[in-house]
């Protein structure tokens, strides 16, 4: 057992070391949870970023029943079947990372969990109810998704883009409000883009842009946040920056699910890892238990050694040299 920083089902799941949410109830009241997570976040983030990965929040796996579950999922685009009979559960308050080789169905699974893709068979259940039965806006206030491809309308400013995350909270009779204003400002502060508020999104660097999109998803104020390859196309420093941000969001009480390409990042940041291969779950659990040389060979067809990450003690995959 090499895990130092991330207590999991086997470890100590003490809720006390995550200060912001220790007093929050976990009941089904999504709006309530989201609101407290939102306020907590703005208090936590500057401090939490300072002391690295020390604060773990409430990251216990076994304590609560999972809120988001896929049962017997068959996922297909037209006639091409991606996965069959897939059972998956996202532990509540976890930072779940889905990894796997290209075209293994990672993004497809995430899209199904977010109701973007309708499964050909099986159901996705959120908070005990079939996700298809959720009203669209209520769902969007509970579960947020950062899709792989989003389009920033030409000339839109950062503040305006983030403000569009308020869509599910607005309606014909409830247009822009003080509350929206506040949440947008907080979301920008939490992602470190408040200084860019009046800049055009087109002008930003890739890392800044990605943080703006995450800020938009944050403005939705959802207790669950799904991110599809949030670090793709970013250089290493920006990748870490975005992952640190995701870790902060997780520590402030959100359930975060991300599809990542880099196994080492997944091992370092995830509290729960799901390894997919050909539409099947090859392994899942705490990264310290799951990430082994055999698994990497099985899932990625890559011979390697797994050593201890000198920074965090999590598994570190070192591909074998060619000779």
């Amino acid at each position: 057992m090499t895990i130092r920083q991330h207590p999991t089902s086997g470890g100590t799941a003490s809720p006390s070391d995550g200060p912001p949410l220790s007093g929050t109830e976990t009941g089904g009241a999504a709006a309530n949870g989201a609101a407290s997570a939102g306020t907590a976040l703005s208090d936590t983030v500057p401090g939490a970023a300072g002391d690295g990965t020390a604060g773990n929040g409430a990251a216990g796996n076994g304590a609560r029943p999972p809120r988001l579950v896929g049962e017997g999922l068959t996922l297909a685009y037209d006639k091409r079947t991606i996965a069959e009979g897939l059972d998956v559960a996202v532990p509540d308050r976890s930072f779940t990372v889905i990894v796997g080789p290209n075209a293994c169905g990672k993004s497809t699974l995430l899209r199904a969990l977010a109701r973007i893709l309708k499964p050909a068979a099986g159901t996705v259940v959120l908070d005990g109810e079939r996700i298809g039965a959720w009203p669209a806006k209520k769902l969007a206030r509970t579960l947020g998704l950062l899709p792989q491809s989003s389009i920033a309308p030409e000339g839109i400013t950062v503040a305006d883009l983030v403000a569009r995350g308020r869509y599910p909270h607005q309606g014909l009779l409830r247009q822009w409000s003080r509350e929206d204003e506040r949440v947008v400002a907080e979301s920008m502060a939490a992602t470190g883009v408040a200084d860019l508020a009046e800049r055009a999104v087109d002008e930003l660097s890739g890392g800044q842009r990605q943080r703006v999109w995450i800020a938009m998803a944050l403005a939705q104020q959802t207790p669950l946040l799904l991110l599809d390859e949030p670090t793709t196309y970013l250089d290493i420093a920006h990748q870490i920056e975005v992952l640190d941000l995701c870790a902060d969001l997780h520590e402030s009480g959100r359930t975060v699910v991300a599809v990542l390409h880099d196994l080492n990042h997944a091992a370092r940041y995830a509290t729960h890892l799901i390894a997919l291969r050909d539409g099947r779950i090859a392994a899942e659990g705490a990264p310290g238990e799951v990430v082994t040389a055999e698994l990497v060979r099985e899932v990625f067809r890559l011979p390697c050694r797994v050593i201890e990450d000198p920074e965090t003690g999590t598994p570190l995959v070192v591909p074998a040299a060619r000779r």
């Binding site: 989003s150 014909l172 408040a194 009046e198 890739g206 800044q208």
Partner: protein
Amino acid sequence: MSSVPLGSPQVFHATSAQSPPRTAPPEEPAPRPSAAAARPPASRRSVRAAGLAVSVLLLLAVLVLSLAVGARPLSLGDAWRGLYDSGSPAYTVVHEMRLPRTLLGLLAGAALGLAGAVMQALTRNPLADPGLLGINAGAAAVVVTAISFLGIGSFTGFVWFAFAGAGAVAVLLYAVGGGRGATPARLALAGSALNAALFSYVNAVQLLDTASLDRMRFWTVGSLASAQTYTIERVAPFVLAGLVLALLLARPLNALAMGDDSARALGANPARTRVGAIAAVTLLCGAATAACGPIVFVGLMVPHFVRALTGPDLRWLLPYCAVLSPVLMLGADVLGRVVVRPSELQVGIVMVVLGGPVFLYFVRRPRRLGTRRRASTGAAPEVAAP
């Protein structure tokens, strides 16, 4: 862009701190910007609201001008008196000719500008104009068919044909030019091909049927001159319905602008939004085309100018377009009455003369912007790629 004076100190600050450290530094930025960022949106909103008020004043000015200018110029006072005083010598001119013409310009202008803005949002293509993409031509083709082969001569008769034509082309365009996999290029190609085909059909019918040629000649060029009070009464409900529908779609279309997945993740319904948008465009273009012929470029030019004022937020863009498009339409009509006095130029012709160069300018501009953007950021332009 409208808030540049307010935002500029911040922009400068942000540029100086171009690439922020990888973890948010605990020292200062976090609490302060949230307070600072809370202010600009509010003031930007008041700037936009003020701009809208100015636009309305501009519209009123053009309305008055349109009542006063013509083959028999009236002073502003005479025009005003002619509006309400039945004893005034200007009463007949104002009521029989200028007022219907002005009201028609108001309705058709608002309809075409709004349709253009909705079309551009729907297709995510800044060049989508119902005139250029063949929707107006579709309405025209069906109306010409009705006049020529079915002998229908009244507006009441052909407004329904105009709707049928506009709707058919809108749906066809959506199917041919894209559906799910719509790319701006495919849409523009499909639209211009349709437009060309439909216009040559209209011309062919006119040349073959000399009897109705005269009746159709002004109409197919696009003119406000033949406006009658009764045309306006017929066209107004459709334009109003389209206007309300378009304004209701502002927020869902805003969500759709970020891609289907994003829209769905926000709780919007892309399919329903598209159907609604096509219905709105059909209503607006069909009504405007039935009333004054296929007029191009309004739906292209106005949303472009407005976007520079308001940014891409349709909650502002659409109302601005609804107010400023009639300004352009009536402005062009007034210009047409003045330049070749005592005769006059049809508004459709003036619009093309004005619109052509503007269109060329816009076609050239985005490309230049695009390359500069890619060069300046370097980091990752692909995030925004569809």
